[in-house]
């Protein structure tokens, strides 16, 4: 005597399994996306690549309690701001300075106050990008494009 059990057709079962798999994959993807840091782009290019294309030169002269900077932007990326790292014998600090240099332009004089005990300044250019997928502007510091000024 043959006992037949009721069940789904194999075709229907396959389709259901595939659909279930794809839905699960989408759910895991959306969940994991929250752990990935937001990506910033400028002109369709990632901010990391834009930072590599930045080119600028700096001259400096020491004045009382500070440094007078002259900066020229030789590249094709506008520099929005600068983050300047103050390196001293005892400690190190970073401060943002709200001056930029547009493409093809030069800044003839920009005074930066320097605390005592500082031996080096490192200028990091900042670019203004947009967060991918959102209409939000965000400034990015190009930590691999810094220029060092050694103080006497």
């Amino acid at each position: 005597m043959v006992i037949s059990k009721r069940g789904l057709s194999p075709v229907v079962a396959t389709v259901l399994l595939i659909m279930l798999t794809m839905v699960l994959a989408l759910m895991v993807f959306l969940w994991a996306q929250g752990f990935v840091s937001e990506q910033i782009q400028k002109g369709g290019t990632s901010s990391d690549q834009v930072c590599q294309q930045i080119s600028f030169d700096v001259d400096s002269s020491q004045i009382a309690n500070g440094v007078n900077l002259q900066i020229v932007n030789r590249g094709n990326t506008p520099i929005y701001n600068f983050d300047i790292k103050f390196v001293g014998t005892q400690d190190t600090s970073m401060k943002n300075f709200n001056f930029g240099v547009d493409v093809g332009q030069a800044t003839p004089s920009q005074v930066v106050p320097v605390p005592s005990g500082i031996t080096q300044l490192i200028l990091y250019p900042m670019i203004l990008g947009t967060v991918q997928g959102k209409k939000i502007n965000k400034a990015v510091t190009c930590l691999n494009s810094g220029k060092t000024i050694t103080l006497s």
Binding site: T21, L24, A25, Q53, G75, G104, A106
Partner: protein, 158 residues
């Protein structure tokens, strides 16, 4: 004889979970890598694009600056920027005298001059004696002005 059975997931459920995790990871890697494969080409001049200051003369009294600029590169340029400095021990030009320049074909020379009273000392902030002059070529690519990295400099002395 009884075989001892351990509890576990059904094989089908296990396969579904494994495949869905694989698809999810593949999707994340694709989304992440796609961001780094840019479709926007880097704005840069062709290698071999360069200008030189063939001759420079500066009169400290009349403040007249004469330049003979030559395109010694392999490509035509559409213009150049002239910058100067009046600081001692200057390494960069900080005042812009001219942002347009002149288009130069390969091998072509051009005589350019600047005086305080005449042509283009348009930047009134420039005071004193000039110590450095530099020129930076630029080209047009599509509709974009692209500044070349090759800069020619010359120190000035009275």
């Amino acid at each position: 004889m009884f075989t001892k059975r351990k509890r576990g997931l059904s094989e089908i459920v296990a396969y579904v979970i494994l495949i869905s995790i694989t698809f999810a990871v593949a999707g994340m890697v694709f989304a992440w890598l796609r961001f780094y494969v840019t479709s926007s080409p880097e704005l840069k001049c062709e290698d071999g694009t360069s200008l030189s200051l063939r001759q420079v003369s500066y009169n400290c009294t009349s403040k007249e600056l004469n330049l003979t600029i030559q395109n010694r590169g392999l490509f035509d340029i559409n213009g150049y920027i002239v910058r100067v400095s009046n600081l001692s021990k200057a390494n960069i030009g900080i005042y812009t005298l001219n942002v347009s320049g002149e288009p130069l074909s390969t091998g072509e020379n051009y005589n350019d001059y600047y005086t305080q009273s005449n042509k283009t000392y348009t930047n009134s902030a420039i005071k004193g004696i000039l110590t450095l002059v530099e020129i930076q070529p630029w080209v047009i690519q599509g509709n974009t002005t692209v500044y070349c990295q090759d800069v020619a400099q010359q120190y000035l002395s009275c």
